[in-house]
């Protein structure tokens, strides 16, 4: 059944409408006036035309102009203050539901309606996602944008409603125009061109799944790369080695989610990832009944910063002088190559990492590691900690080479998720708890010995 998309129609109507308005000299030049016109017009055609005019002029601005435009929105398109005060007076006087509702409406920033109407323009949603990307980049410098961002966040939350997301398996039969996005967006383990991409998606023991959204066309929102293996992997190098041995997916016992990348900066905070993993787990489980383990091989991006801070904190009591000395080797360019040389460091790093996950908390009393927060929030449990698992520059720079597995156990997802979401509990395997136990006991052992 052929489906006709609106975009073409809208561009035609928009053009005819523009001609009409131009004949009638009704299109202002100044962006602020354009925006005023857009929120006040009743005619739908004018809305089309004005949205398009605003978005086009925005796209022609340089970054400074774009930030200035956003600041203008933040300043001029708050709620009509007099209406709010009137509505407040009415509420004070009479408490019925309708009066409250009118206060709610009166206090809505006009920028919210403005964004809704901009969304009617051609490819409106996609262009507004780009606008928010600029906004987020400028928010640190211009805190007044923070309130404006709440409008975007509120509306995106509604438009990117989970019901619209489509999970698509991606493979070598996928269109080239979509495939090239994955080369561009892979954020965890870079994809170097078409041949490398092919190694990630063509073999039977490699999968890639992505979420798409009807308003975003061929732009993926988020994707996950999966390796099907015979055992739980303890390092990324051998997983991605070009000379690895391919196995039949029907032999595989383990699905490893080794890379999860968000694609749209402008959708920051609008979360889909949890749904993605649950859905891919279910999808793979039904296709390949032999799979018993679903787990990630994940980076630990906050570990090095946390550890370095600890090492430099003179008042800390967790690390003994002896610990600090034995840790010194991780600052050297050359790490030991053989298992024997690595052993002491392995134990120390596993111990510290178990502490990092289970005991350390950030200023908002949360688990420190953002990737951990993501997976624990999804109902995974922390399964293994691997030292010397990612020896790339990036891996050493962010986590001193540590990687971890989070396990998604279908029968536990709900209880793990609720435990973490409602009570902040980190569910872990015995092996991780034993690392912590040994680490906390080491001083005594050291003293005893």
């Amino acid at each position: 059944m052929s489906v006709i998309f609106l975009s073409e129609l809208m561009s035609e109507i928009s053009q005819r409408g523009r001609n009409f308005l131009q004949r009638n000299r009704e299109i202002p030049r100044d962006p602020a006036e354009l925006c005023e016109a857009l929120v006040s017009r009743r005619g739908e055609i004018s809305c089309f035309v004005l949205s398009e005019a605003i978005l086009e002029s925005w796209e022609r601005m340089d970054r400074a102009g774009q930030v200035e435009f956003l600041m203008m929105l933040a300043e001029r398109f708050g709620p009509d203050r007099q209406s709010v005060l009137d509505a407040m007076a009415a509420v004070s006087e009479d408490g019925d539901a309708d009066t409250f509702y009118r206060l709610h409406q009166a206090s809505e920033p006009r920028s919210q309606e403005l964004i809704r109407r901009l969304n009617m323009g051609r490819c409106g949603t996609r262009r507004l996602v780009q606008m928010r990307e600029i906004l987020l980049g400028a928010i640190a410098e211009y805190p007044a944008l923070r309130t404006l961002d709440k409008d975007f966040f509120h509306l995106f939350g509604s438009w990117f409603n989970r019901g619209f997301l489509e999970l698509r398996p991606i493979n070598w039969s996928t269109s080239a125009s979509i495939l090239e996005k994955f080369i561009e967006y892979e954020a965890v383990h870079e994809i170097n061109g078409w041949d490398d991409l092919r190694r990630r998606i063509e073999p039977g023991d490699r999968r890639l799944f992505a979420f798409f959204h009807p308003q975003m066309g061929d732009e993926p929102l988020i994707f996950v790369e999966v390796a099907l293996t015979g055992e739980v992997p303890d390092n990324i190098g051998s997983l991605l080695a070009t000379d690895r041995r391919e196995i039949s997916p029907y032999e595989a016992t383990t699905a490893v989610f080794y890379s999860i990348s968000n694609c749209q900066e402008g959708l920051k905070g609008i979360s889909f990832g949890n749904l993605l993993i649950k859905q891919v787990v279910d999808q793979l489980a039904s296709e390949l009944p032999n799979l018993r383990n679903f787990l990630t091989l994940s980076p630990v991006p906050g570990f090095r910063a946390w550890l370095d801070k600890l090492r430099n904190d003179e008042s800390q009591t967790l690390l003994t002088p002896q610990d600090l000395e034995s840790l010194a080797v991780i600052d050297q360019a050359d790490w030991p190559e053989d298992a024997d040389g690595r052993r002491p460091l392995t134990t120390m790093l596993q111990g510290l990492a178990s502490y990092y996950f289970l005991e350390a908390r950030d200023s908002r009393n949360r688990v420190v590691d953002p990737v951990a927060r993501f997976h624990l929030g999804n109902g995974a449990r922390l399964e293994n900690i691997h030292s010397f698992a990612d020896l790339s520059d990036k891996g050493r720079r962010s986590s001193y080479g540590i990687m971890v597995n989070y396990r998604y156990e279908t029968s536990e997802i709900e209880s793990n998720h609720e435990a973490y979401a409602e009570r902040g509990t980190v569910v872990t395997s015995p092996s991780v708890r034993s690392h912590l136990k040994k680490f906390l006991a080491r001083t005594k052992t050291a003293q005893a010995s």
Copy 2:
């Protein structure tokens, strides 16, 4: 590219989550408590489970129970009044944007968040559309539901965003499960079973287009039936006659939109119709370059009520006693069959109808006829008025047999639309204006004669 839909996944997660919560005895029984739990839980799994529990229990209620449930929402799920008062105090004290925004958030009824979360349940949107259908049916009796409806209206406006609508041409190759909906939903000229449906969609000179929405599955939102003809039709009977002569679509000069039906009561007020017609016009124009006229053959559902009221209004001055006498024939069961007998009535009804469209206004100063408001608002112009055009019981009952053509002239749509939307102007053809002129002049003529 195969797409995996979330519904199945959600139903599995929901089942597992329910088992989990039930083991933990956390699911309340009472609908109001279920709703309280739903708006307050943080865990996403609980949200799935609770939404599903609420929607299921709602669907098991009888209508009285459902209305009671809605009233409970209206009463208990307004905004938290203390928070509103606090936020108001903060606004009075300090006028920054963020304070205003917090007032906006505080004054949002909790029912709005509740509906958002119900939407996460399996087929949430479809079920909420059904819930609003019940709400709208009860609103006259229970005015307190009016504010609750604003939540539905606001959220549906966002979810049924035009960017999600898909226009699909419907024909005899369409799936039976979709086709049966059109038999069910046709509201203007009833479709009697499969053979009748086939006559409306299979011939090359008949078309049907519908809007669909990804969250509503196979349920159409609105559809339009089109006849391709060699001339502008002046009555519905010959258009639908089973023995009419089919013509090649390439010979047709005229596309007649002879039936437009909304399918979802629960989406009342969320308008798609204007977009539908514009899009179908563009679609047909590009497929069949010979088409020169795009117009409707429309009912005039408010005409008889208006005219009857006028005839019974002793204080009115528009109709002369002579008029009233000559109109008496329309109350008789048998109308004249021949053109000669019909002529006086034809002229009188066309005159009255032209007055009805161009001069009469309702209590809100709007054009009286709802179908007229729809088409004029879309940028059509009123083209022709036909007497004796719909001789069915329904036609006589609602409009004394009158039908009209609205013309969609691509080059005029924008200006007509803006004229009507911004200034209330009704654009008409010279022929309609001449009916009015003759009608207003008739007394003098009558007096003169």
Copy 3:
């Protein structure tokens, strides 16, 4: 990926070509001359045009004219006899491979090339299938058509190559234009309109699968209707009852193939059915792992004719006078309604049927029943014989109410098929063999008693 079909193109080229040839007055009128022109022209355009001209004129003929046309082909479009004699002389002289090949080519009837070229016309294949339908209808009266049919048979065998067949599951989401074919073509248990069709395909425990072919468009070639049940059914009435209880497909243990219909008379002898059943078995087995039994509920169309002949054959020795007497009740209009009354007849009919399948053979030494030959040839085994299983007029008329189950046991299909195809062995269940044993022993029993 949109695919552009040739049919439109061909119709345009054909029209332009026709204009060209007509300007040049090269199109003969007489069908025989048209055919001569078609086999002799080299230009491809002329071939298009002439094919179309022949097929059109054929379709305008009445049946008598069509048969006359076919007879003309049979008489005038054999091989060129002189060329054959020359090629024979060459073979007699020199025996190399190429000389033999030239004899093969020389002896090909010109009608074969003619049919190949007719196939180039618009919808050529579909129209040739209709042509063969007429031919097969006339062959008994005009035996000279038998050789011509060999051309059709040979070419159809190649064009309807199994690699082109597509198995499509048919359900209530299938297009109406396809669904109506099943109403038309069901040959075993009639479908009465859309509501009845819906009962056959919409419930979760009912399936319909069909084979399609790219050259035949929406025309199915053959289809099978499947009921998913909890037990092996012993009569058709309760299987099709409108008030039957629907079960979940996941509970079903048994897939019953209760109706298999060929749709195209003109494809007689070109067999797809074996592939259809094997494929549907595999398809269902993978979708519903609970299914353990795959079997048919099949008519026995040759049974009554065989039995009546036997009963009237004075020289036969199989039936005793006592048998004949007890069989007399099947000629009566009213059959016993209760199990007790039916018992003697049940046993007798099962015994006779077991003999009919296992012992009786036709003049070509084949199993007598055509449906049996089909299923045995596919690798099924004869599983059960049911008396009083089809009490419809048709059922009594063709098989005295008997139906049978053939079982498709995946692990046995190959050996059963080979046993039957290579050695003519009928594989049966112990129950059927025991019917036969008892039947053959009955005389002794009778004598003994």
Copy 4:
């Protein structure tokens, strides 16, 4: 509507069948015996299994073994000679149609039935196309294969029937697994990797169309690359320049078919190309009504060989000593760079080329150039001859840099095609005829001057 493909089913059946036959020790080892078994078995399962066994063992052979296998087929699988002699005797005796038909059947080489049965194996057609590729490569050395090739040719002609071909527009949205074939198969102007491919298909003024066949999966049969331009191009370099200016397809007046590549060596002689071009012309004409010119920019692969032969032929009279002298410059490594320097050579080469197309004929009295035969046979006319049009090594090596345009004029295709197909006439533009006229007149001019 989901379609289930047979390949999987066939591979399962094949495996089960193999197990069955192996248990029964019925699979011979020797390829010749395998083939004997395949043509003589009746059971379909055995046919599956034996086909697969033969194709697998063939694919494991080295090229020498494969040729030996083909020779074995050619020698052992001719017709049964005794049957042929018997059938000949019957024909000599009695001349009825059926006797002749039996002779036709008897004289069919057994290899033909063998190939038909091999086609039943998994991916049979694709594998047989590869088999013929080897055969064609060996035919020069082993002329006995020539008769065997007739079987392939005859059967492929039937299987690759035009009705099965699908024209697909290829673009940057096409699947990567299909796109990579075009990089591989482009035979005229090499595509260097993904970026170069993208330049050929992504811009709005570039198109690529290909024919596919259901039995060949993602393997294209033939494809054409099209450039949409504002003028008729006279050289390939500027058409493919990476810095060329892209134009809107709606501005284009001219569609240039600048590369046509056959993809399957094994389908040599089975022609689709004519249909491809006609269809693409119609497709583009209906999409882009502004297009007025449809023409190729084609190589002239036979020109240099013909001209070199002529130059070296001491008995020729066409070229004067003066001609030969002025032609000497084309043997030099450096050709003149400026128009003035090129002028004499331009005129001379255009004259010679016009003679090459219009007057020269090969030993079978055909137009010498194979590309010319292809386009003239399709109904194109020879439009322009361009010197210095392809300065690549390949261009100079095969045609001294000459390229030509063939024009496809919709209204003339049929008459041009028939003129060439039936009478051998080469239709040309006045400009080409004037080149010839000047060339033939030059001696007189030279003498006169």
